[in-house]
Symmetry: C2
Subunit: 554 residues, 2 copies
């Protein structure tokens, strides 16, 4: 059987090599429009920044190495421009020779990827993108030859922030412009606020809630009229699935504009498959169509489509979309749904915020992180998790991703046996603590209040009780709160006002203790989830907009 | 209700504070024989080594702080010397005053911990142990005052190796003496061999397969007659549950010598509970009794027993025993069963060895690790996993521990969505790769051979085929192997001998490719699991003894 694969990066190359490992019988031809195959897409920003100085390190294979080891016929600079489904052929343009020819196929695998979205704006031709090795070469050449001093990165997503950090490494004054009120859409605003602070701490400018109106020769003009210096402009406002070929061939697209495939990666034509960033995936939680443009999912699909073509049983299960990005000294990781999406979908959910240390506090080098887990308060099912901080964030999100995927409940997290030694975690690991808190909430032992609910609750007559020390209180508190340190509380019950009490401490632990101690005293009590730290970070820049939203609806 | 708790470290203190958080109604009295409560046991070796210079950092609470915050009556230097079950009292000795008194209880919780095992040997009085703050103080004082130049650490378990490393930090010439043929019994010998190399690389002496015969004034004489210089002797040959009180009170012990408890931590007396290192736990895999002397399990049990006493539904599920230890630059982590135990129990199992990098190879700083996973070849159930290497070993073992606990199969590992960016992992994460390999084996696509099976297979007529480059082959190979680099293989099929072929490469990947390419050529082919690296590490020191065992039985 002759299998033709369009696209020689993650999904396409995984399909090709897996198919060969499954047997010598297939003829396998791979077409790649670019000059490189199987390159490390995710390394491009770091090559630009000089972290990966040698460009060759990004090139994991060559057509020659693939021919030698896997007997693959890989043709670069070869663009598939049309598919004839009836005749089972593709029309291929040799980009160097300028000629075209037909190639037959028995099975066709499309892995065309996605392209950076470029909006139609005046002057946009000057803006660069960063998706391919050719893009990285252009950007690197420009940095070397023009020595730009200022840059605007449009878009505060994963690639945007990685690019901003790497331009900053070259000494450029960089400003990130993001239309939304926060960077990194997959996480919720109170965690994104930590990333905002990190960018500013490193001298990266950040403009939120504004888009680009025009690109001028040395500047960028924003939708709010601001003009930013910009010797260099990089666009990173997301990617769009490459569906031109599929559309021309009459294959079905999905509701999100990607190529529609079934669990076996089969398109609406039973002889044509598609994998990678160009196709829509199924969300594990609600079965909806989602993009998930991630290299690991592309690799997984590529391997799987080879199995399917070889007649092995294989199907892709729903995706939860785990991801991680480094932003200067922070690690930001996420799995499953965030609260914004749960709220928009009207799904009942409970959030828990904690601020644990990466490892035992008594062992040197422990650094803080902020974790948030979302679960269904009725079933206990884990719906999503996110973390921002130093060392160990990726580990906790990976653990939570497996728990989510395996269908463990939030309380089950309490009983996970995780590797503990003081360099690696705590005897009660941050993930165990999330489970303990979830169990306290689900069994009704503790009631919690979220940071964005404070304004409404106080307006409705609740009193704020700060159980931190007097010194902590003096250094910053929620306006209008009474301060009684937790250890003084038993002796000062008479000082408490009537009505609902919202207790808070710095991180949530002492607040939990105080809340427990006050249970049975006749007060209606709730603990501020995530403590003053979550509240203060979240409200510092988000309060105006989000408290407004809370009043309107939540 | 009056609850008396014996022991104020992990299990006891977790029980006390949780019980108070559940309500103000109980009177809670905690007796502690030592001078300190709630101290960081796991930090003791690092305090001795000066990594945690301030002793106060190890003391997480004081009786005063516990009284203030949790209204706990904690009495240190107070040893419970007898239990009267009929009268529901304990007899308490005030170690400072030298007096004794009775204290009544409605519920009694025993958390006496475990004590270092001290064998009855000539001169043993000179040997120190490292279990309590008092032990650490003694060791620290001796290091300061006597300035010893040499030390023998008896026992190559977790505490023994941590102690050896920390004595080495003080400049002592340290030798570890271990009766078994390997250190760190929870891992298998071919991974322990990496730890042996790490110890030797740092100049720590290692004597395996020998015990201590006598402790002399400046030396230690071993069972094999060797005499080692030893200004200092530290005993770390394991702990024994503290069961004196329980035995005296007539409570049942389990088959492993610990206090027997049910899922609710109840002993054979319905009003007496026990938690922590003194009690036996249930193995999740086969339901047998196991010790699991780990701080996180003690904490978990302490919290749980408080829930039970307060009338909340709670039960402890079977343990899988995840653990981690740092040995110089190596992280060693393990979860579930190892192969030695599976073999001894006669359980059918399949091992997979890999040697992945901590993160994408093209991003700077990637370091290698060795992972091993064990699964049931019939059901696919994960039975255990272990890892030795640099950064990221703890993360992979935690992920595998959750997968094991959640009942995922080895193939399910292929589909886990783990956080990927080049600083954190690979687009095919090491855990995904384990899943891919397991799936290849379970579906019959690939056959593998283990390092310890080579001798037998060659004796039975199999031929060894090294598919690495000529340079790699020349630098070291399995004796008697033919070298045909994988990329030359298709053109050199005629050079292959008849009969079974055992293919190997450096790490296992090229071997897998070669094995796949040779399928269909009529050869019976198997790939050496873990490649030359696993074989060479394992056989370098283990071959004489283990290949011998292999011939005899495996």
């Amino acid at each position: 059987m002759k299998v033709v694969i369009v696209g020689a990066v993650a999904g396409g190359m995984s399909a090709a090599t897996r198919l060969r490992r499954l047997g010598p019988e297939h003829e396998i031809v791979v077409f790649e429009r670019g000059s490189e195959v199987s390159y490390a897409n995710c390394g491009l920003p770091y090559h630009v920044g000089g972290v990966i100085p040698d460009r060759r390190d990004l090139l994991l294979q060559t057509p020659q190495s693939l021919r030698a080891r896997f007997d693959l016929d890989v043709r670069v600079r070869s663009e598939v421009v049309a598919i004839d489904r009836q005749a089972q052929t593709v029309r291929v343009r040799d980009l160097d020779a300028g000629t075209e020819y037909l190639e037959t196929w028995d099975r066709l695998v499309l892995s065309p990827g996605a392209a950076p979205f470029v909006p139609d704006l005046p002057g946009i031709e000057r803006a660069l993108t960063l998706r391919s090795v050719a893009d990285a070469d252009r950007l690197t050449a420009l940095l070397r030859e023009k020595r730009p001093a200022t840059a605007v990165v449009v878009g505060g997503g994963f690639i945007g922030l990685e690019t901003a950090e790497n331009l900053h490494r070259h000494g450029l004054q960089v400003t990130v412009v993001e239309l939304d009120s926060q960077v990194l859409a997959p996480i919720d605003p109170e965690l994104a606020a930590l990333v905002h602070a990190e960018l500013r701490r490193h001298g990266v400018g950040l403009v939120l809630g504004a888009g680009v109106a025009k690109v001028l020769p040395d500047t960028v003009e924003l939708s709010d009229g601001q003009v930013l210096p910009a010797d260099l402009v990089v666009l990173a406002i997301g990617v769009r699935p490459e569906t031109r070929l599929a559309t021309q061939a009459g294959l079905d697209l999905g509701p999100r504009g990607g190529i529609a495939v079934d669990e076996s990666m089969r398109t609406s034509d039973p002889h044509i498959y598609a994998v990678g960033d160009a196709v829509e995936k199924t969300d594990r939680l609600d079965g909806s169509s989602i993009p998930v443009p991630l290299a690991n999912t592309a690799n997984r699909q590529g391997r799987l489509v080879a199995d399917v073509i070889a007649g092995r049983p294989a199907r892709l299960t729903g995706r939860i979309g785990t991801a991680v990005v480094r932003v200067f000294d922070l690690t930001v990781a996420v799995t499953g749904w965030n609260e914004k999406r749960l709220r928009a979908a009207g799904r009942v959910h409970q959030a828990v915020h904690t601020h644990p240390l990466s490892h035992a506090g008594y062992y040197p080098g422990a650094v803080p992180m902020s974790l948030k887990v979302l679960f269904d308060p009725e079933s206990g099912a884990i719906l999503g998790a996110q973390g921002v901080g130093g060392e160990g964030v990726d580990k906790r999100i990976d653990v939570l991703a497996v728990a989510l995927r395996a269908g463990l409940s939030a309380e089950d997290l309490a009983d996970l046996e995780l590797a503990y030694a003081p360099q690696y975690g705590s005897a009660k690991d941050p993930v165990n603590m999330l489970g303990y808190i979830a169990e306290n909430i689900r069994t009704g032992m503790t009631r919690t209040v979220q940071w964005h609910e404070i304004t409404d609750r106080v307006a409705a007559g609740a009193h704020l009780l700060d159980v931190r020390t007097a010194a902590e209180h003096a250094a910053g508190c929620i306006p209008g709160s009474l301060n009684i340190p937790v250890d003084d509380l038993p002796g000062r019950l008479a000082d408490l006002p009537d009505g609902e009490l919202i207790v808070y401490c710095q991180l949530g632990m002492r607040g939990h203790t105080a809340t427990s101690l006050l249970t049975g005293t006749g007060h209606r009590v709730a603990n501020l989830d995530g403590g003053y730290r979550t509240w203060s970070v979240a409200t510092a820049e988000l309060a105006p907009m989000l408290v407004g939203r809370s009043v309107a609806g939540t």
